[in-house]
């Protein structure tokens, strides 16, 4: 492999990793508070991508309006998801909550299939993201650079909210102990809604960038990235935002470099993440950055 190709793959890995990271943050935040794998989280990528497509093609909005609109709308759908599918089950056994999440995921996918149809749609990628530039002799699509940059911006904003604002403090408290937080007079339902809003918005941003990178949008496009992002979150230690980002990058880079170095393994790429997951759970069930769980009696 030449250095040029290596650098190309490296930037590819970084941008794929940023996408996993963006989606993983949503998983980790929701898991932190509700102890629930939000199975429908990955499908929000699809929702955001379709919303952006329709905003651009049907309502002929410029991309700099339609993308934020799609992100905002998807954030609201995230809140709705919680209200409809999870909130009624707060006191139910965990298994019910998880089944509801799986149901919600299938519902979103198949609603999209019924309403829009299964034929993949192209994504109207704005020209400014399609340009190809040359850095040190390596030809790179600007999108590959924008994706990590945008991720960084979103991440900074998120970290600011979580660690520097009052609301963020409440969120962190809720993820430590939701009952005590409630007793402190904090409106936990609002905190949960906010968590869903933020997580879903990040997933939406990830979805739009995903659709620009791989411009084939179909009702099931969110399933595999969703699962992998969840694995990234586990990898980093679930409930830990920085861990989710680290896990996302590790997974994205790992996948791309695996295929780059061992092209004959390309067809196993989708299994790679799960093998990693199994290894992590075998040897360090709390993830790279997670704290050990103590067994309460």
């Amino acid at each position: 492999m030449t250095t040029t190709i290596f650098f190309q793959q490296l930037t590819n890995g970084i941008s794929l990793g940023s996408l996993y990271a963006l989606v993983a943050i949503g998983y980790t935040m929701v898991y932190g508070i509700l102890r629930l794998i939000n199975f429908a989280h990955g499908d929000l990528l699809m929702v955001a991508a379709y919303t952006a497509i329709y905003a651009v093609t049907m309502f002929t909005l410029p991309w700099y309006l339609s993308f934020p609109l799609a992100i905002a709308l998807t954030g609201c759908i995230g809140i709705l998801l919680d209200r409809v599918a999870y909130k009624p089950l707060r006191d139910a056994p965990r298994i019910s909550l998880l089944i509801s999440a799986i149901g919600a995921s299938f519902l979103l996918e198949n609603l999209a299939l019924v309403i829009i149809g299964g034929v993949p749609k192209g994504f109207p990628r704005p020209d400014i993201f399609a340009k190809v530039i040359e850095i040190l002799g390596v030809r790179i699509q600007v999108l590959t650079i924008y994706i990590p940059l945008m991720t960084l911006v979103f991440l900074m904003a998120l970290l600011y909210i979580v660690y520097r604002t009052k609301v963020g403090k409440a969120m962190r408290a809720a993820s430590k102990d939701i009952e005590t937080t409630r007793l402190m007079g904090i409106n936990v339902d609002r905190i949960i809604a906010l968590t869903f809003l933020m997580g879903s918005s990040l997933a939406a941003a990830g979805g739009i960038m995903w659709a620009m990178k791989y411009p084939q949008v179909n009702p099931f496009m969110g399933v595999i990235p969703g699962l992998k992002a969840f694995i990234a979150a586990v990898l980093g230690g679930i409930g830990n935002i920085i861990g989710a980002v680290v896990g996302g990058f590790a997974l994205g880079l790992g996948e791309i470099l695996l295929v780059a170095f061992f092209p004959q393994l390309a067809q196993y790429r989708d299994a790679f993440a799960f093998v990693i997951l199994i290894l992590v759970l075998l040897f360090r069930p709390t993830g790279i950055m997670g704290e050990p769980i103590t067994d309460k009696t």
Partner: protein, 353 residues
């Protein structure tokens, strides 16, 4: 019923009732076998296969209270193993055009019954291999690991062309699965799993479901019993996979995606998680309802104009049903109750005492 168990009369009565019910089932199957339409026979076959799948899936999810999301993996393994064994070496040589089939599958051929057992055994072996990472965790993690295992098997099915023929799949299998095979397996599965659930082993599983810490303190080894449920479940899923393969006669990786698991989950949730009776009812409803609902996906001719079929509509309905049940009627049809003759007779007011 008193603690001493049923007295001799009732247990004899129950035995006769069971025999009578089996004879009735046999008669019904015989009549359909002779006079039923192809459509009816297909539904009945599907029903039996789904009963086998749902009852064995429920053993893990309902009785042990785990959320195992990978039964599709075991069904796949059973289906491929069984199919590879019933195909003649000739057929296999002709099917595997991209890469030849690896030894020993290339030369082996076995009767249908043996192939079903082999499918079950192979699924059990895989279940055993995966059990160590699976049972190190619980809850959501267990769900995602088992789901991941299903995905890994799907990827392997596409990639390992020397074993599975890749995306092309296996075609032209003999349609061995008839009503007798499918219902024979279903009845056997229900009987055996019911016996297990009602035994000391089943009680240990339920105790783990109710409170794993207390179960341990009472001397129950969680790993051994969860493993037992997992392996038994995988075995019957594998056998059902073999039945499925020889019912549809064409198998490929797309047949065994997470969709299949999702369907099984709907069945056991609607039937009532933790009830074998519920799993049977759920499976029967699903096999029948699934066919009946095909209407919504096929074009409808209203005389004046035609409504085009809407693909995906069935799955929308199924997802809605699942969510409505879990949100508003969490116990499903049966809750954790089981059908019993005692219950039926007391309902009918026929109990002597």
């Amino acid at each position: 019923m008193t603690w001493k168990g049923k007295d001799m009369d009732t247990s004899k009565r129950n035995l006769y009732c069971n025999l009578a019910a089996l004879c009735l089932l046999a008669l019904v199957l015989y009549l359909f076998d002779r006079h039923g339409t192809e459509y009816q026979i297909r539904i009945l076959n599907n029903m039996a296969v789904f009963i086998t799948l749902a009852v064995s899936y429920n053993l893990v999810n309902g009785m042990c209270g785990l959320l195992h999301l990978g039964p599709n993996a075991f069904i796949t393994i059973g289906a491929y193993t069984s199919a590879l064994l019933t195909m003649s070496p000739m057929e296999k040589q002709m099917s595997f055009i991209i890469e030849p089939l690896i030894w020993p599958f290339s030369v082996l051929q076995a009767p249908f019954f043996v192939s079903l057992i082999a499918g079950g055994v192979m699924a059990t072996i895989f279940a055993f291999l995966i059990s160590f990472p699976v049972f190190r965790v619980r809850g959501d993690y267990l769900a995602i690991v088992t789901l991941g295992f299903g995905e890994v098997i799907r990827v392997l099915c596409n990639a390992l062309q020397g074993v599975t023929n890749g995306p092309l799949g296996l075609k032209g299998l003999q349609p061995y699965t008839n009503l007798w095979w499918s219902w024979g397996v279903a009845v056997f599965t229900v009987l055996v799993i019911t016996k297990l659930v009602n035994s000391s082993f089943g009680r240990a599983m339920k105790a783990i479901r109710e409170d794993e810490i207390a179960a341990k303190a009472m001397g129950v080894d969680p790993f051994r019993h969860l493993l037992l449920a997992f392996l038994v479940s995988a075995f019957f899923s594998g056998v059902a996979g073999g039945l499925m393969a020889h019912l549809i006669t064409t198998i490929s990786p797309t047949l065994f995606t997470f969709f299949l698991t999702f369907n099984l989950l709907i069945i056991i949730v609607v039937g009532g998680l933790g009830s074998t009776t519920g799993a049977v009812i759920g499976a029967a409803l699903f096999a029948w309802g699934g066919e009946a609902l095909r209407v919504v996906e096929s074009p409808m001719d209203l005389g004046v104009f035609t409504i085009p079929g809407i693909p995906g509509m069935r799955m929308v309905l199924f997802s809605v049903i699942l969510m409505v049940v879990i949100l508003f009627a969490r116990r499903g049809i049966m809750g954790r109750n089981e059908f019993s003759w005692d219950w039926l007779f007391s309902k009918l007011g026929l109990n002597a005492k």
